[in-house]
């Protein structure tokens, strides 16, 4: 930015001297007013002022007026008009040198490019910048041929500047911006795929045993851990993932009570099925995602019920809400889920791996 200001100041000083020699008093006055309007950021008025005294579409118009108009068109985001003026400036001042450079580029690429005046490099820079901005803004309106032409031209000017001793290196970012834009267009596209999963799961049931003789109800404690095998379908872009996933777990648990009814059983079979959607955000548009998983949960246990007692909630259909995080490496992934299942005691955890199909 600082370099641009310096370049512009230099340009104004230079053009002011030139104008004194080449044009009449009225034109000189108009140009001075246009410069002031530019400083005041009144770019429409700059164009009007210059158009009133100069032929902006003529190659014979003084360079200072054309350049100031081109800068103003850039500010007004009329990049097409700006580009035309820069080409006019090149044609008027550096026609032969420009032809020499472009011919050399066409023949040998960036090898042995002829040297050029700094001013010509400045015009190349401004054309590349204007074309890039036009490309980014009007991408949806441009046809494929126009897009390819702009990309080729921008690439050519940036490469030429890269081989020169042009001192304003802000042109470095032009290709990066275009590549970032193209990557974004690819990244935002959603696509779907299937995956398998296996995980370690841990949870605690919340059920109770009732003594029928007096109606005394006490809670049963249980702690379960095992493997949960399943898979799912995901629909994802580089920024978001929506998926439906589920898993089936057959585990054993130990259950007991710690109050006036004594009940203890080991190796109780516990079957759990979880299925539901996940919504995941990819904070760095990459391989890591974080979000929520809200599954339906079916759980049943093969409890032995003593005579004279009943066990409630030994089979449940409920739901849960979990914080989910995923890390993907190629087709493999690692995931964790931590949260709460309604009607379960405490928390439910899962940590596992996925394999994309």
């Amino acid at each position: 930015m600082v370099l641009r200001v310096i370049a512009f100041t230099f340009f104004l000083a230079w053009t002011s001297q030139s104008f004194g020699m080449l044009i009449g008093r009225e034109e000189k006055l108009a140009f001075s007013k246009a410069k002031q309007l530019y400083k005041d950021k009144l770019y429409h008025q700059v164009i009007e002022m210059l158009s009133s005294k100069f032929q902006l579409h003529s190659d014979n118009t003084p360079s200072g007026a054309l350049t100031l108009a081109a800068y103003s068109y850039e500010k007004l985001e009329d990049y097409g008009a700006a580009i035309k003026l820069y080409y006019s400036l090149i044609k008027a001042n550096y026609k032969d040198k420009n032809s020499e450079i472009l011919q050399s580029y066409k023949t040998n690429g960036t090898d042995d490019l002829p040297e050029a005046p700094n001013k010509l490099y400045l015009y190349y820079h401004r054309i590349a910048e204007s074309m890039a901005r036009l490309y980014l803004r009007d991408y949806g309106k441009l046809n494929q041929n126009e897009k390819e032409t702009i990309r080729k031209r921008v690439s050519m000017y940036v490469e030429i500047l890269g081989e020169s001793d042009y001192d304003n290196d802000s042109y470095d970012t032009i290709n990066e911006r275009l590549e970032k834009h193209d990557k974004y267009l690819v990244d935002k596209v959603f696509h779907s795929s299937w995956f398998l999963s296996t995980s370690y799961i841990s949870y605690r049931n919340q059920l109770s045993i009732e003594r029928q003789s007096d109606g005394l109800v006490v809670p049963i404690n249980s702690t379960v851990d095992g493997i949960c095998i399943g898979g799912g379908w995901r629909y994802q872009s580089a920024f978001w993932e929506y998926n439906l996933n589920g898993c089936y777990s057959a585990a054993t648990m130990n259950v007991d009570t710690d109050s006036s009814i004594t009940y203890q059983q080991s190796g109780v079979a516990s079957t759990t099925f979880l299925f539901g959607p996940s919504v995941l955000w990819k904070p760095k548009s990459g391989d890591v995602s974080i979000g929520i998983h809200i599954p339906f949960i079916y759980n049943t246990g093969d409890y032995t019920v003593p005579a004279g007692y009943t066990i409630s909630d030994d089979t449940l259909l409920t739901y849960g809400y979990f914080l989910e995080t995923n890390w993907k490496l190629s087709s493999w992934g690692i995931f964790t889920k931590f949260g709460k299942a309604a009607q379960f005691k405490s928390s439910l955890w899962m940590v596992g791996i996925t394999l994309g199909l």
């Binding site: 404690n221 702690t223 130990n254 080991s266 760095k284 995080t325 890390w327 964790t336 940590v351």
Partner: protein
């Protein structure tokens, strides 16, 4: 001669009782940093940061939005020296470090308590004795400060001022490093939480440093450390654990490093043998997954009792914005593999490097005990941590 006097001075200074703060962040493999030596003087992390480590912390790791005025990353890096200054001298690298912890245990349960613990407050000095072209070729580092009496009651009269690190380091080539002095054992992944099963069951918690020699080879392909040790010379001779540790990590890719470690030691009463496999993987920028699985055999020599424990640990870091991480730590411990009971702990948390020199961390630990004969309630603990370093 001057060098010898300086070495002697620092050693005398440290010999009384010193300690080191743990701020090794092995999860920074998520940024593509596979080896600790880039950022730390200690070849296996923790302790004083190198100039590069400080600059990296200021410009890349910590959030930079809170600085007043416009500060570019280069400026932040340049002013990452002692107390946010540019480095005043070439030869000396002082630093200050503090960690405080708010602990609320058994949240929602009977007897829940809340307390503030000053875990560590220390001052460190690195004296760089290398030639002008490579000042860190030879250095002495020492840390001294406050450390609380251990909570496990093992030594209620323990000094509250101690050192956890002082050693001489010599790096004759880019690849080789030799370190002699008082330091941590080079076992497993040095995660920050010293209460983690992977650190406590293996004898690598906050006060388990040892006098040792460490030979370290580091290359793009692998890191190998061999560390014979003679125990903490400040302890009674009969309880000193003497032995060796080794740690190997292989670079499969810039962001994936599996490895293994072994630790064997023995005192008059206790014999330890631990081994572990571990892996660190980086995902995208700043995200990581680390895992360690290991087994420990402890033999009480006089009682002829042997216990074998098994553990695993997974810790994940998700970078949500610059300096701000979501953590998950999942730990498993089977204290005796011949008994059915086992402990599991799940610790979701957040970690925020607010600015260079200020880290905040909040964790919840949900602990669950599996027992063959009975069930016990889960416990929930909360910790809030402030870490300052200058």
């Amino acid at each position: 001669m001057k060098v010898k006097i300086l070495i002697l001075f620092v050693l005398v200074l440290c010999a009384s009782s010193i300690q080191r703060s743990v701020f090794a962040y092995p999860n920074f493999i998520g940024y593509g940093y596979t080896s600790c030596t880039v950022c730390h003087y200690n070849a296996y992390g923790n302790g004083p940061l190198t100039d590069y480590g400080r600059a990296l912390g200021a410009s890349t790791i910590s959030d930079d939005r809170w600085w007043f005025g416009a500060r570019d990353l280069n400026e932040l890096g340049q002013k990452s020296g002692f107390l946010y200054s540019e480095h005043l001298t070439k030869r000396f690298r002082p630093s200050l470090d503090y960690r405080g912890l708010l602990l609320k245990n058994n949240v929602g349960g009977d007897g829940s308590e809340q307390e503030w613990i000053n875990m560590d407050a220390n001052a460190s000095l690195v004296v760089r004795l290398g030639p002008e072209a490579d000042l860190d070729k030879l250095f002495i580092t020492a840390t001294m400060g406050y450390a609380p009496v251990p909570r496990n009651g093992s030594d209620p009269d323990a000094d509250t001022y101690r050192s956890r690190e002082y050693y001489i380091g010599y790096r004759p080539t880019k690849n080789w490093g030799i370190y002699a002095g008082f330091m941590d054992k080079i076992y497993g992944i040095r995660i920050v939480n010293h209460e983690a099963y992977s650190r406590s069951i293996t004898g690598n918690t906050m006060n388990d440093q040892t006098h040792a020699l460490l030979v370290h080879y580091s290359s793009e392909k692998f890191d190998l450390g061999i560390q014979p040790f003679v125990g903490n010379m400040g302890e009674e001779a009969q309880v000193r654990q003497k032995g060796f540790a080794t740690n190997f990590e292989y670079t499969v890719s810039r962001k994936f490093r599996p490895g293994f470690s072994v630790q064997m030691s023995e005192s008059e009463y206790l014999k330890n043998y631990a081994y572990a496999f571990h892996a660190r993987a980086g995902f995208g920028k700043g995200n990581s997954v680390m895992a360690e699985v290991g087994q420990v055999q402890k033999s009480q020599i006089k009682r002829e009792v042997e216990t074998t424990s098994r553990y695993w640990m997974v810790q994940t870091h998700t970078l949500l914005s610059k300096g701000f991480f979501l953590l998950n730590t999942i730990e498993y411990l089977k204290s005796n593999i011949e008994v059915e009971s086992k402990n599991l702990k799940w610790g979701p948390g957040i970690q925020y490097f607010v600015i260079q020199g200020l880290e905040l961390r909040f964790d919840i630990f949900n602990s669950r005990l599996y027992n063959e004969s009975s069930n016990s309630e889960d416990t929930w603990d909360f910790t809030g941590q402030v870490h300052l370093w200058f």
